[in-house]
């Protein structure tokens, strides 16, 4: 760090010019490279199996290119629509006088928590003829003519369940930005929609880009929703061939990984071109009055949250109540042991919280490297960490079993919690990288320098200066990791300690056995727990600085 520690009061351009220095300190580089090496384990396994599988020539065939094209199509569509919804909701709930803001801020991120096989199943059965949402709409005079399958069905379901990947970082970003620009625009006569387009979108563009990237990667790695919607993407072929035709399965997984790397690199290039240094917000930000747009804003929020969160919840409650009444009438017992449910709930809560904290700690060096230094190393590390999110959970699990048992000194750890948490972190760490990066760059350097001048050591500066300022951004990233961990299935099944049950494991078991009432009740428990955690850990935290 070479700047003069007694800097003059900063201006935006002043901060910008000093935002990124060249060569990072050696310990930061080493830390980031170590993190990248860990995150590269699944990708490395895919690469090795693809190269030795003898099926790479298949990649240029029609039967590989067609699912690739469908995957790209779906991922772009879903990213675009999720970006729009997520940004609009974030602005409305953070920056405007929308009624019941607290309520919207708790429920808006929650659709993320539906495991995609549950969400898609609830959707399909609720919205098709005979389903409760379809029939309710019929009573109200709407004839829902939804044929939920193929590209349209997959697009709709994935958009509704992934917009929180954009919503959470953008909301965190907006609550950390000064609202003066928006207020000025208002004073100069812009209507809310114009303010949104001309002021909000440019300010939050890096967070929107980062969130959309996550949506893209989630979409290409999703299996549950595309499976139920009968839309043949790359993951479908990977799953279908995973046992009996492994060469092809891994070749296609490599194709998926290559696609992810290209998209990650593109996003980074675009984001860097428009990169801006952040200024922390003043707390006295005013809310933009929506005026006569209020009704439209409420309608938008209600429609999105209604479709994404409440429609599946209503379908689930319908199944759950059916089972409960059945039990009341003495027809069939609910096959639920509440002690088991409580145990699984506790397991779900603590493993996802531990994962979130570990993930934040692990990606912080990467975030510092990306935010404070311009180096080629940063781009590579970013690519490795973020692209890991595009590798299907099953492949992550299998690769970690391989590395742990056959190529590491940690064989004794197989089937223990550390390996499970490690698998989650490697799979979901990407979710925290960009929010952490934005958080790091929101720390004004001169504040850190001042603390150093006053004799604070590096660690003390980190805990007393950096961390408090970064907290809302880190909390948003941690929230994403936590909600994703809560619903993760394949890695939980394959690498957890035997007997370890999270809620989603129980949900899956009930689903497999066709115990729909039980599946529904467990899913609602999962949603309720997520709501509580989102409130305590994400919403309240970001309020500190809002």
């Amino acid at each position: 760090m070479s700047e003069n520690p007694v800097a003059a009061p900063s201006t935006a351009s002043d901060v910008r010019s000093r935002a990124r220095t060249g060569r990072p300190p050696w310990d930061l580089s080493v830390g980031a490279v170590l993190v990248a090496a860990l995150f590269a384990l699944p990708g490395g396994y895919v690469l090795w199996r693809a190269l030795t599988g003898g099926a790479l020539h298949l990649l240029t065939e029609r039967r590989s290119l067609e699912p690739l094209w469908r995957t790209v199509q779906l991922a772009f569509l879903v990213s675009a629509s999720a970006a729009l919804l997520g940004t609009a909701l974030a602005w409305l709930t953070v920056r405007t006088d929308l009624p019941l803001r607290r309520f919207w801020r708790i429920v808006a991120p929650l659709p993320l928590v539906y495991p995609s096989f549950v969400g898609a199943a609830a959707f399909r059965s609720g919205l098709t003829p005979g389903g409760i949402v379809h029939d309710l709409a019929g009573h109200l005079g709407f004839d829902l003519q939804l044929r939920l399958h193929g590209l349209f069905g997959a697009w709709l379901v994935l958009t509704l369940f992934t917009y929180p990947y954009v919503y959470l970082p953008v909301a965190a970003r907006l609550s950390a930005l000064p609202s003066s620009l928006e207020e000025n625009a208002r004073l100069l006569g812009d209507r809310p929609l114009q303010v949104f387009r001309r002021v909000v979108v440019p300010q939050a563009s890096s967070s929107i880009g980062a969130g959309s990237l996550l949506v893209f990667l989630y979409t290409v790695s999703d299996f549950g929703a595309v499976h139920l919607m009968r839309f043949e993407t790359l993951t479908q072929t990977i799953y279908r061939t995973r046992l009996f035709d492994q060469g092809r399965s891994f070749a296609l997984a490599l194709l998926l990984l290559a696609l992810a790397l290209v998209v990650v690199a593109t996003e980074r290039t675009v984001a860097r071109r428009g990169s801006r240094t952040e200024v922390i917000g003043d707390r006295s930000s005013l809310l933009i009055p929506l005026g006569r747009w209020k009704a439209a804003a409420i309608a938008t929020c209600s429609l999105v949250v209604g479709l994404a969160l409440f429609a599946p919840a209503v379908a689930l409650a319908d199944w759950g109540l059916f089972g409960w009444f059945r039990q009341r009438r003495g027809l069939a017992e609910l096959r639920l042991d509440w002690g088991d449910v409580a145990g699984a709930t506790w397991s779900t809560v603590w493993v996802s919280m531990v994962t979130a904290v570990v993930a934040i700690a692990v990606v912080l060096p990467v975030a510092y490297l990306l935010a404070r230094h311009r180096s080629r190393l940063g781009g590579i590390v970013n690519g490795v960490v973020v692209a890991g999110f595009a590798i299907p959970g099953l492949v992550v699990a299998i690769s970690l079993i391989f590395w742990t048992l056959h190529a590491s000194p940690f064989e004794f750890l197989i089937g223990t919690m550390p390996v499970l948490v490690f698998a989650y972190v490697v799979h979901f760490g990407a979710l925290a990288v960009r929010t952490a990066q934005v958080a790091v760059s929101s720390v004004p350097r001169q504040m850190n320098d001042a603390a150093r001048l006053l004799g604070a050591g590096r660690l003390r500066r980190f805990f007393t200066v950096d961390l408090p300022i970064m907290a809302p951004g880190l909390a948003a990233g941690a929230g994403l990791v936590m909600l994703s961990t809560m619903k993760e299935l394949p890695a939980t099944l394959l690498v957890s300690p035997i007997g370890f049950r999270t809620l989603v494991v129980q949900i899956w078991d009930a689903y497999e056995a066709l115990y729909l009432a039980e599946m529904a009740i467990l899913s609602l428990v999962l949603v309720a727990i997520s709501a509580l955690l989102t409130w305590f850990l994400v919403v309240r935290r970001s309020d500190h600085l809002a």
Partner: protein, 347 residues
């Protein structure tokens, strides 16, 4: 600009708490489980179905059961990846495919004769490395409001006719369908099997990803017929009662449409507890557990001398196990390729 005063404490507490929990969890789970009085089972059947059997086994023998659950293909893939270092003693699979795959890798042990004799030769491997313990019949599910019994076909080959155009659902990517199609192909030859599938596609058959999706779709008359395993309809009826508007039709005895897909049990060659594992397999084939499987799970019992539950359709004459498959992986790979080439997955 305000100086945002330290809110550091909650987060650092969270960090410490997280580290503590992690360490505690590592300690808790570090203990080994591979002692004399427990076996580890990798189960491709779900806990709701086989969990009661494991509990009964522990109650009767005092041998604890540690179970990992997942889809059969994922369990086989995990076992292959773990190799001889696996802690698993027993593998339960929904169908013979994944078991045969592990057998080809040389990962399965020869079973004790006492276990093998419980099951008819048609329902166990020729090499003596696995036994079937429950069967599911391939049937035609149909909507009872829209189809009269007189219009039901005797043979799966009838479904390519014009009277079924656009009315039949096929679970093309489903593993039970792949099991069935592999045997169908080996019995009739590739030419006939491919021609049948192509004719089904040309006849406007619909693709659904799972048996269950088909039974649900037939129940609400989204599609009229479907090729499925029999027990999904029994489960739907148990769940929905009279509101479920579908039922099963068995093809004529001996017809290729009505094979039995069997769930299989095997013992890992790397197991240190093969005796206990064989004891579990014998327990699985005991009258009481076979009765449970047919009365509560609606499957066909495979141990000799146990009769199927009364509401099940007549037991098919042949099962997947009856065809000896030399190279399981190669044959299933070929099956997947033929199914893809037929275009049925795009229907």
């Amino acid at each position: 600009m305000h100086f945002p005063f330290p809110h550091a404490r909650p987060l650092s507490v969270a960090l410490l708490l997280g580290a503590g929990l992690l360490a505690g969890a590592a300690g808790l789970t570090g203990c080994g489980s591979d002692d004399d009085t427990s076996i580890t089972i990798y189960s491709g059947r779900s806990e709701s179905l086989v969990g009661p059997i494991f509990e009964a086994f522990t109650a009767e023998t005092g041998i604890a059961v540690e179970a990992r659950y997942g889809s059969s293909n994922d369990m086989a893939l995990t076992l292959e990846t773990e190799g001889s270092k696996t802690t698993a003693d027993v593998f339960l699979s929904r169908s013979p495919g994944p078991t045969g795959y592990l057998n080809d890798l040389g990962m399965l042990a020869d079973l004790d004769d006492e276990v093998l004799v419980e099951v008819n030769t048609a329902n166990r491997s020729n090499g003596g490395t696995w036994v079937g313990f429950a069967g599911r019949a391939r049937v035609l599910v149909y909507n009872i409001d829209e189809v009269s019994e007189d219009d039901l076909p005797d043979s799966v080959f009838d479904l390519t006719g014009p009277e079924y155009a656009g009315l039949v659902a096929i679970p093309g990517s489903n593993s039970s369908f792949q099991d069935w199609f592999t045997v169908f192909r080996l019995r009739n030859g590739d030419d006939i099997a491919i021609a049948w599938l192509d004719d089904m596609v040309a006849n406007g058959s619909h693709f659904y990803p799972t048996n269950r999706a088909i039974v649900e779709a037939v129940g609400r008359d989204e599609v009229r017929f479907g090729l499925v395993n029999h027990y999904y309809n029994h489960q739907e009826v148990a769940e929905n009662g009279d509101a479920q508007r579908s039922t099963n039709h068995g093809f004529a005895p001996g017809d290729d449409g009505g094979l039995m897909i069997i769930a299989t049990a095997s013992v890992l060659d790397s197991s240190d507890d093969k005796d206990l594992a064989n004891r579990f397999l014998a327990f699985l084939l005991s009258d009481a557990q076979q009765r449970y499987l047919t009365d509560s799970v609606f499957e066909y019992p495979l141990a000799t001398g146990v009769a199927p539950a009364s509401q099940l359709p007549e037991r098919p004459a042949d099962s997947v196990g009856a065809v000896d498959i030399d190279d399981m992986a190669a044959e299933f790979k070929r099956t997947i390729e033929i199914i893809e080439a037929s275009g049925v997955l795009d229907q």
